[in-house]
Subunit: 137 residues, 2 copies
Amino acid sequence: MSVGHIAVTTEPVVSCGGEHEDCGIREVLDRIGDKWSVLVVVELAQGMHRFRQLQRAVPGISQRMLTLTVRRLERDGLVSRTVHPTVPPQVEYELTETGHSLTHLVKALADWSAEHRDGIAASRRAWDTANPDSDIH
Amino acid sequence: MSVGHIAVTTEPVVSCGGEHEDCGIREVLDRIGDKWSVLVVVELAQGMHRFRQLQRAVPGISQRMLTLTVRRLERDGLVSRTVHPTVPPQVEYELTETGHSLTHLVKALADWSAEHRDGIAASRRAWDTANPDSDIH
DNA sequence: CTGAATCCCCTCAGATACTG
DNA sequence: CAGTATCTGAGGGGATTCAG
């Protein structure tokens, strides 16, 4: 991956057309950057889920936040919501095709995370020891 | 990209070892998920920046948030901070090798965003027309 | 120039209770 | 089961001020 001595890391030009405009990154980050969306997508990547099933699969999420999260994902066209007018009610959530394509991105995130989490943790410990008084968390 | 009729999208197994544990995704998301980090990284991807230079390059960011952002990035070992004890003071911020590797991830984010932003925007408009009364933003 | 410190607003997550 | 409605506290983040 990295050559070694010098950081010759081939660095992609990420700023859209050379300008520092907002691209559309923020639009994505506002969605996948929040606390729950990614976890929900990861769960839905394993197949269809009902509401409670989804809530149990994502430990710690509240009813309210699950509702808001799936609503926003549905609004963005990443998740489909199918209501079966039975009694008791039954609602099925599934990833759309776009939603599935997002899992590749999440995969990349997880990979990068797995590769660097130790280094990051070490760097944090070092920084914290070097800066005993600081509430930068 | 997509085949067509059916969503046969080859879907990566993103959940670490098959379990729904948190992996380390959250650790990354807590960093790149926040409002400014990505924008700062994108700017620094273009080379070394001084503090004010960086602030001017990231429109809208306050002194306070820039300070906090670069501190956290430094703590995580993504950004190096070099102080030149001159007068007036001069501080240089640069991406570390790890920081550079992150730009690839951001690139992937930008690419996915560019590819789907129109579809997402359309989906949002459709959802908003179908749900006139809703403050899900 | 590069910050640190303080104030303060305002969002938003969590808990709780209620409905169909 | 699958939500909605309401309240409240913590915290993110902007503006401003002070310091080296």
